[in-house]
């Protein structure tokens, strides 16, 4: 039989890498399998200013430091692969990859993370990079003296709308509800900015242009009335989705497709744990993901000792 790892971690974001560091440092034979870029959503964070004990840095630096720590402790990391099947029941867990390889372990930590929610409306893919953006820090300056829409009502949407007023002449926040989900300080900062306007209880229905975005369709939800609006760019901050589609039928998920865990990061299957943005929780921060990865690794070690 092929090698059986002590711990197999699926995902190499903040949670997966933290689990890898703790598990391999505990001398457990540890493998991380990662479908995307090392660091997950952490590398999509331009600036990390509130990680305790670390001066302001960026996600790329933190991710690469964590990767190096894990590897230095003996953790193996395999990236850019595609998992097509899971067998998580039984004493030996197994995953199959698209390229035919299989990997086995006595315990598994699921840390597939999440991804920014796209709007999935006509034109979104056509105008990515030519009017539609998901990063104000990266692309804001391309919209100097332009008019913008920001989609969303959380902290990211309101904070990025304020930052975009450095460049744009006008920023219109379009939000589906009649109130914002952001913290009060972010709401007040946006409301007091003279360049920011609000269109509430409304959603975008389409993007239009000729090689470059120049117009959007907006629907007012209560009245179902649609309007066209001229615009130079749209920044989308509409929340996150857990990367758990392939886990349907293999593990208990809630109605938001998040993995259900207890305080020890145990799932409904013995020997299978989960951590990071894939689990049911309220706060999604690098610090919380690192903490959950740590707990998952310690729980996996305890499971291995007692089984």
């Amino acid at each position: 039989m092929d090698e059986i790892y002590d711990v197999m971690i699926l995902g190499a974001g903040a949670a997966g890498l933290a689990a890898g560091i703790y598990s391999s440092r505990a001398k457990l034979n540890t493998l991380i399998l990662n479908e995307g870029a090392i660091g997950g959503q952490m590398v999509l964070t331009n600036e990390i200013a509130n990680y305790p004990g670390v001066e302001t840095t960026n996600g790329f630096v933190v991710a690469n430091t964590m990767k190096k720590q894990a590897k230095d402790f003996g953790c193996k990391i395999k990236s850019n692969l595609k998992i097509i099947d899971y067998n998580l029941d039984g004493s030996v867990k197994n995953v199959k990859l698209e390229d035919g390889r299989e990997f086995n372990a006595y315990s598994v930590i699921l840390a597939p993370g999440g991804r920014p929610r796209s709007l999935n409306i006509p034109g979104e893919n056509d105008f990515k990079g030519t009017g539609i953006s998901y990063c104000a820090t990266c692309d804001g300056e391309f919209f100097t003296d332009k008019e913008l829409i920001v989609v969303g009502g959380g902290n990211s949407a309101l904070e990025e709308a304020v930052s975009l007023t450095k460049y744009a002449t006008k920023v219109t926040i379009v939000h589906q509800f009649d109130r914002f989900q952001a913290f009060e300080h972010a709401i007040q900062e946006a409301k007091s900015n003279p360049k920011i306007n609000f269109i509430m209880e409304s959603e975008l229905r389409g993007f239009h242009g000729n090689g470059k975005l120049n117009q959007v369709s907006i629907e007012h939800l209560p009245s179902e009335k649609r309007n066209e609006m001229k615009v130079d760019g749209v920044f989308i901050f509409a929340g996150y989705l857990p990367n758990t589609e392939s886990l349907h039928g293999h593990i208990q998920l809630n109605d938001r497709n998040e993995i259900v865990v207890d305080a020890d990061m145990k799932t409904n299957i013995p020997g299978v744990f989960a951590a990071g943005d894939c689990i049911a929780k309220r706060y999604r921060q690098v610090t919380t993901a690192v903490a959950e990865g740590t707990i998952a690794a310690l729980s996996a070690a305890e499971f291995l000792r007692s089984n």
Binding site: G36, L44, G59, N80, I132, Y134, C135, T137, F142
Partner: protein, 120 residues
């Protein structure tokens, strides 16, 4: 200077030399931002898998990167990074904003792979 393992081109002359010397060249022109880093990471992985392609990065804010910023295929781009692909010295494809490993691979397959004539 970009903090990536992908070899960084510092001048337009270096880029011109690379596309003159190598048949297949991919250049990611960006910063160390959240939309750019995933592209560099995909390139790092692909360097081992695609020996027929030369992979380079270039700092978007360098005046020397005007050779990419002002390229006809990059007109209208409003998202970092600008990623460009050269075949036999000619820019054959350009993308704006984030691209993942699968998207980059698809472009390499379509534009920078070996072309086998139909009668062979």
């Amino acid at each position: 200077m970009l903090q990536t393992a992908v070899h960084e081109l510092e001048t337009a002359a270096e880029l011109e030399k690379a596309i003159d010397e190598y048949e297949n060249v991919m250049v990611c022109c960006g910063r160390m931002g959240p939309m750019c880093i995933p592209v560099y990471e995909a390139m790092e992985e692909l360097e081992d898998e695609r020996p027929e392609v030369k992979f380079y990065s270039m700092a978007f804010d360098s005046p020397e990167a005007g050779i990419i910023r002002n390229a006809p295929l990059c007109q209208g781009f409003m998202g970092l990074p600008f990623t460009v692909y050269y075949k036999n010295g000619k820019m054959v494809k350009a993308t704006s904003s984030i691209q993942n490993y699968a998207q980059v691979t698809e472009i390499l397959d379509e534009h920078l792979s070996e072309v086998i004539p139909a009668n062979q």
